[in-house]
Symmetry: C2
C-alpha cells in the first residue's frame, strides 16, 4: 500500500499569531517539522499587515474573517476568549479542526479538553473543536495523572507561582520596565496588573468570584477534574502572579487513597510521558523556572512524604508556561490527532 | 510613691548591629522611643570600627567580647546562630536579659519562644534568655493563634513566598545586581544562592534534611507548635525564596475542628492584636509585599472557605520580614518584659 507512506500535510492556521503563545506556536511547528501544506497567520487589528518568518519564508499576518478558514485543515487559536468565541465555531463548521487555547469552550461537556499524555482518547469523537487547557492545569495533571492511576488522589491543595508571560507581551514589558525603574530608585505606575509586579507578589490572576476564589483558581480546579475524569476530586488552589518572565511553578500537596513512598512516586513519574524528575536536594538539584524555559517536559522535584498526612505527598512542579503550558500542548494535540487518524 | 513614676531606662545592646535586622532594630528602638539609658552596638570583625547613628548620636560599632555585656541590661542578638551560641549564654550569665533572634535556642524547652501577641506569658519565668522566632513563624502564628483559640486548628498546609532580605545584605545585593544583569541581557553567576534568584523561584531555604523538607520548613513547623502549645498540630510547609527584597507572603490552608465562615474569621482577625485584615478582592484589595514594607502589622487577605475541605479556610498572609518577622518582634518582647516587670 504505497499510499499509506505518502504522509498527508495540513493547511494550518494560527489565530493570534503575533502574541507570545502565537510566536511560540510558530517556533514549535518549525522545531517539530509539523507536516504543514501551508501556514496562515491571523491576528487582531493592531498587528495585521506585519510579517513573520515561518520555515524560512516570510508570511503575512492577516485579518481574521469568517472566510479565513476555507482553505484550512487545522486551526490553532491563541487569541483569547473573545476571538475564540467569535471565530472558533465558524472555523470548525467550515471544516477546519480547531485546537482552542482559550478558556471559552474548556468546560463545555461536548468539547474534549486534552492533555495528550493524559487523555488523548477523549478526543476520538471530537466535533471539530478541541480545547487546550490552562497553563497551570496542564503541568499539574501531567504530573498527577500517573500517580492518580496508581493510587487515586482524593484531594489536592496547590499554590502557584505564575509567570507574567501568561498574561501576554504587555505584562512582560511591564515587569521589565518596572524592574528597571525600581533598580533606579524610581516609582512605578501599574497598567497591566492592579499593583506593581516587579519585586512583588500578587494574589490575583483573572477575576475574583463571589466565593473569594479567582476564576484562574476555579479553572485549575474544574479543568483538572474534567481531564482526570473525576468530579469528586477535591481541589483548593491559590494562584499567585510572581515576577518571573516565563516558567510556572507550583507547590502541590496531594492526599492519596493509600500511602505512597516518595521513591515510588519518583519511579512512577520517571517512567511517565512528558515528566522529568529532578530531585536530588542534597546537591540543590530541583526544578526552577529560569532553568526550564525552552524545555518541553514538566519538571518535578522536592517529592516528599507530607509531614501532616500519612497518605500524602508534597512536590514542586515547574514547566515552561508558553510551551507545555500552551503552545506545545496544542501542537501535541494536533500530532496526536494525526497519529490516530482523527483529522 | 513618686518613685514609681520615674521610668527605668535600660542599658541596651544590639549584637549584629550592622546587618539588615540590626539596622532595623536601631530604627525601631528610635521610632518607639524605647527607654534606653545607653546603646551598645556590636558586630563581626568586618564592620567593627564603623559608626551608626542612634537617636541623633553617632555610636561606635565595637567588637564582641565576653566582657561586652557587663554594663548591659538588655541585649538583642541578631548576628546569626554561631554568634548567639558563643555569646548569648555568657551575656545572660553576666546579668543581661537576652532576646535572641537566631535559631540557636528556639527549640530548647527551657527557653521561651515568644510572639508577644500570642504567648507573652510564657516568658514569666525566663532565665535571662528569650528566643525570637523565625520570620515566617511569627506572621503565621500571629494570624492563626486567634483562630486556633476560637476553633482549634488541626492541620496547616503552608507555602511561602520569602524575600531575600531574610538571607541578609549580600542576598539583597545579589538580587539587585542579577536583576540588572538580566535586564541588560547579561548572564549571571550565583553566589549567595545555589541558582540565580532574579526573575526566578528557588524551593530551597536553609539546608535540606533527610526527609526532603528543609530546615526552614521544620523551623516553621516546630516553632509554630511550641508557640501555640500544641505538639499534635499537623503542619506541612514548603518554603520558597522569591525575587522580592522585603515582605514575606504565605498561602495558608487550615483545617479547623468545626466549620468557620470566612466572615467570622475576618471578624476575629480584625479584633486581634497585630493583625490587619485587607480583604476586599472586588477592588483588588489584598496584602502584597511591596505595600507592607515598613508596616508593623501582619496583613491578611483572600480569606475564603477551603473549596476542598468543609472545616477549612484558605488565606494569604503578608508581613515585613525584617520588622514583625524579626526586629519589631524582638523589641516588642522587650517592651512586654518591661510592662510586666519581668526585667
Amino acid at each position: 500500500m504505497l499510499g499509506s507512506l505518502v504522509l498527508r500535510k495540513y493547511h494550518t492556521a494560527i489565530v493570534g499569531a503575533t502574541g507570545l503563545v502565537g510566536q511560540e506556536l510558530v517556533r514549535i511547528l518549525e522545531q517539530r517539522s509539523f507536516p504543514m501544506a501551508s501556514i496562515h497567520l491571523f491576528a487582531s487589528d493592531r498587528t495585521v499587515g506585519s510579517k513573520m518568518w515561518v520555515n524560512h519564508r516570510e508570511i503575512d499576518v492577516r485579518e481574521l474573517t469568517a472566510n479565513s478558514f476555507d482553505p484550512v485543515d487545522l486551526a490553532i487559536f491563541a487569541g483569547g476568549d473573545d476571538i475564540s468565541r467569535s471565530f472558533a465555531p465558524t472555523a470548525a463548521k467550515r471544516g477546519a479542526v480547531v485546537i482552542d487555547s482559550s478558556a471559552a469552550f474548556r468546560m463545555n461537556p461536548r468539547i474534549p479538553l486534552i492533555v495528550p499524555e493524559v487523555n488523548a482518547e477523549d478526543m476520538e469523537n471530537h466535533r471539530g473543536l478541541i480545547a487546550n487547557p490552562n497553563c497551570s492545569t496542564i503541568q499539574m495533571v501531567v504530573t498527577l495523572a500517573p500517580l492518580h492511576k496508581n493510587n487515586p488522589i482524593k484531594r489536592i491543595i496547590v499554590d502557584s507561582y505564575q509567570a507574567v508571560s501568561g498574561t501576554g507581551k504587555a505584562a512582560v514589558d511591564e515587569l521589565n520596565s518596572q524592574s528597571k525603574a525600581v533598580l533606579e530608585g524610581k516609582s512605578t505606575i501599574p497598567h497591566v496588573y492592579h499593583h506593581q509586579i516587579a519585586f512583588n507578589m500578587l494574589p490575583e490572576i483573572d477575576v475574583f468570584m463571589d466565593d473569594g476564589y479567582t476564576r484562574e483558581e476555579w479553572k485549575l480546579t474544574n479543568e483538572a477534574r474534567k481531564i482526570l475524569r473525576d468530579n469528586n476530586l477535591k481541589i483548593s488552589a491559590t494562584c499567585i502572579r510572581v515576577p518571573v518572565v516565563t516558567g510556572n511553578s507550583m507547590s502541590v500537596h496531594v492526599e492519596l487513597t493509600n500511602p505512597m513512598f516518595p521513591e515510588e512516586a519518583r519511579n512512577i513519574l520517571a517512567n511517565s510521558p512528558g515528566v522529568r524528575v529532578l530531585d536530588n536536594p542534597s546537591i540543590s538539584h530541583y526544578p526552577h523556572p529560569w532553568a526550564v524555559v525552552g524545555s518541553d517536559e514538566v519538571f518535578v522535584g522536592r517529592i516528599r512524604q507530607d509531614a501532616s498526612y500519612s497518605n500524602g505527598l508534597a512536590m514542586w512542579v515547574v514547566a515552561d508556561n508558553l510551551r507545555k503550558g500552551a503552545a506545545l500542548n496544542a501542537v501535541q494535540i494536533a500530532e496526536e490527532l494525526i497519529a490516530r487518524g482523527w483529522i
